[in-house]
């Protein structure tokens, strides 16, 4: 066990070379190797003379190496909305290269993380109030929205997490089913463990069985409703194998999923409510139905006349009131229950999805002339696409049939969209239904899937 270190002070600290930082690709990564990889990466960044980089990796350990190397090189870090190759292409350039393990961008626009350091680097404490990150997330117009953050905001939030749960997690190892390319996974699966001297697994576990096979006796699962609502019929874990803590964020976890997770794993998931803009806001464990969210320490809450929840802490944007996208009922003690979404964003499997953005990408296919994307109402949440085909598209439809054609369009979308943002159900129509003013008729679009 080691002391909690702010990220800005971590590299300059006297951390032992033998401290286990992470498990990455089946190998133990200790602090000595970590320091040397950060140094090697700094050398590469500095030789390029750039002041910003796009950071995207498969492995969370590599991400941490790139993260600290960029900040120690006074580079601004750009965090793209996802790491699909087509998305990266929109952010990467000669002046803003991709910092990664190795991915399909031109050599001149790429810096590989890690390698052998040529010399010693004298690490000084970074100024967290002058270290910048730009997080991109789905925007309502179909163009991703930039949310700037300072390292000091990240540190302030990690300090709150540590004071809330640090003691429970002593000597545990963190494993996650969520990606570190989103803020929740980044903080909970990588940066917080790194700061707290708790080892973490670099890989993202897509399958429960894989994760349980690796999980040691004391572990912390960083997961989401997507996985926690789909736990296979495991035999409940015996007491010695149960994790210390299960975290969930991204969207509401149903009461029944929370209870089921407790039956199998022996602990009730701790849900985190928050967003890229606000950071972590509140938490709850659903012992009863309903259980309100309790604000994290230092987080103020209020409800506007519109019913929308606003929050403020030392790490919300500009340390000022930030409006969330949620409607809520607030109790006198500051706790609250979420009652619905207030905007046209859609949340699918915990991922924020902009319908306009999916439509825009779909229309970029040569097979498509017009497209509408809707959220299906009913028990199975998911997107549906209604598409007007081009002549090429129509020929393909005749040739391969509707199923294979929609698979081909999904393949096309995969370049820029994550799986959750891809339409599951498809209709190919002669013309999108519109009303007399030329507006698309949402009800008629829904009707196509009844």
């Amino acid at each position: 066990m080691t002391e909690f270190q702010p990220l800005s002070a971590l590299m300059a600290s006297r951390c032992s070379d033998d401290l286990l930082v992470a498990m990455s690709h089946g190998r133990e990564k200790k602090f000595g190797e970590f320091r040397s990889s950060v140094t090697a990466t700094i050398e590469k960044i500095q030789s390029r003379k750039v002041d910003k980089v796009v950071l995207a990796t498969e492995d969370a350990y590599k991400y941490c190496v790139g993260f600290l190397a960029a900040l120690h090189s006074s580079c601004r870090i750009i965090v793209p909305p996802n790491s699909q190759p087509g998305t990266l292409g929109n952010y990467v350039s000669h002046d803003c290269p991709l910092l990664s393990e190795g991915r399909g961008v031109p050599e001149a626009e790429w810096i590989e993380i890690g390698g052998e350091a040529r010399s010693e680097f004298e690490f000084l404490r970074i100024d967290p109030a002058r270290s910048h990150l730009d997080f991109y997330t789905s925007g309502s117009t179909g163009t991703p929205k930039c949310i700037p953050k300072l390292l000091s905001q990240i540190e302030d939030e990690l300090t709150v997490l540590q004071s809330t749960w640090g003691a429970e997690l002593i000597d545990s190892i963190t494993l996650g089913t969520v990606t570190h390319q989103h803020i929740y996974g980044l903080y909970f699966k990588a940066l917080w463990p790194l700061s707290a001297g708790r080892p973490f697994y670099g890989q993202t576990f897509e399958i429960w069985e894989d994760m349980l096979a690796q999980a040691p006796n004391r572990s912390c699962f960083v997961s989401s409703p997507a996985h926690l609502s789909r736990i296979p019929a495991f035999t409940p874990l015996s007491e010695g194998d149960q994790p210390q803590m299960i975290l969930s964020a991204g969207g509401p976890l149903s009461y029944s999923s929370a209870q089921h997770a407790q039956e199998i794993f022996g602990v009730l998931p701790t849900e985190i409510y928050g967003s890229t803009e606000t950071g972590g806001v509140a938490h709850r464990q659903q012992a009863e139905n309903p259980t309100p969210f309790k604000p994290l320490s230092g987080m103020e809450t209020r409800i506007a006349a519109s019913g929308i929840l606003s929050v403020r802490s030392n790490y919300t944007d500009n340390q000022d009131w930030a409006e969330t996208n949620d409607l809520a009922t607030r109790f006198e003690d500051g706790q609250f229950l979420l009652t619905g979404r207030s905007d046209q964003f859609t949340k699918i499997e915990g991922k924020r999805v902009s319908l306009a953005e999916v439509e825009k990408y779909l229309c970029q296919s040569e097979l498509v002339t017009e497209a509408a994307v809707i959220l299906l109402e009913g028990e199975r949440e998911g997107l549906a696409a209604i598409v007007e085909l081009s002549n090429t598209g129509k020929a393909k439809l005749t040739d391969m049939g509707a199923f294979r054609l929609n698979r081909q369009l999904r393949q096309f979308l995969q370049d820029t969209l994550e799986p959750a943002a891809m339409p599951k159900r498809w209709r190919f129509v002669e013309a999108l239904p519109t009303n007399s003013q030329g507006k698309r008729m949402r009800s008629a679009l829904q009707e196509l899937f009844k």
Partner: protein, 89 residues
């Protein structure tokens, strides 16, 4: 095509609510994920839950072969048959 493979094709279509496709349009050898049927990781979780429910098979958490078992309908059918043999043995 053997009965189990046909049954699994139906199970894939029903569980995932796939439209515009019938069991005989799925090739037993074709990839279920990414290419071929183009299923994603959420589909994989749902399929896993359903297969364990339907066939009462407990996936061995220590096994690294799960991704291979889920590669195609044929590999799934082989996996399920061998597990069944073990259970009745």
């Amino acid at each position: 095509m053997n009965d189990l493979e046909l049954e699994l094709k139906k199970l894939v279509i029903d569980t995932l609510n796939l439209e515009d496709i019938t069991p005989d349009e799925i090739d037993s050898e074709e990839m279920l994920f990414v290419e071929g049927l183009g299923l994603d990781s959420i589909d994989a979780l749902e399929l896993g839950v359903e297969i364990q429910k339907t066939y009462g098979i407990k996936m061995n958490a220590q096994s690294d072969d799960i991704k291979q078992h889920f590669a195609s309908v044929r590999s799934l059918a082989n996996f399920i048959s061998s597990e069944r043999k073990e259970m009745s043995a």
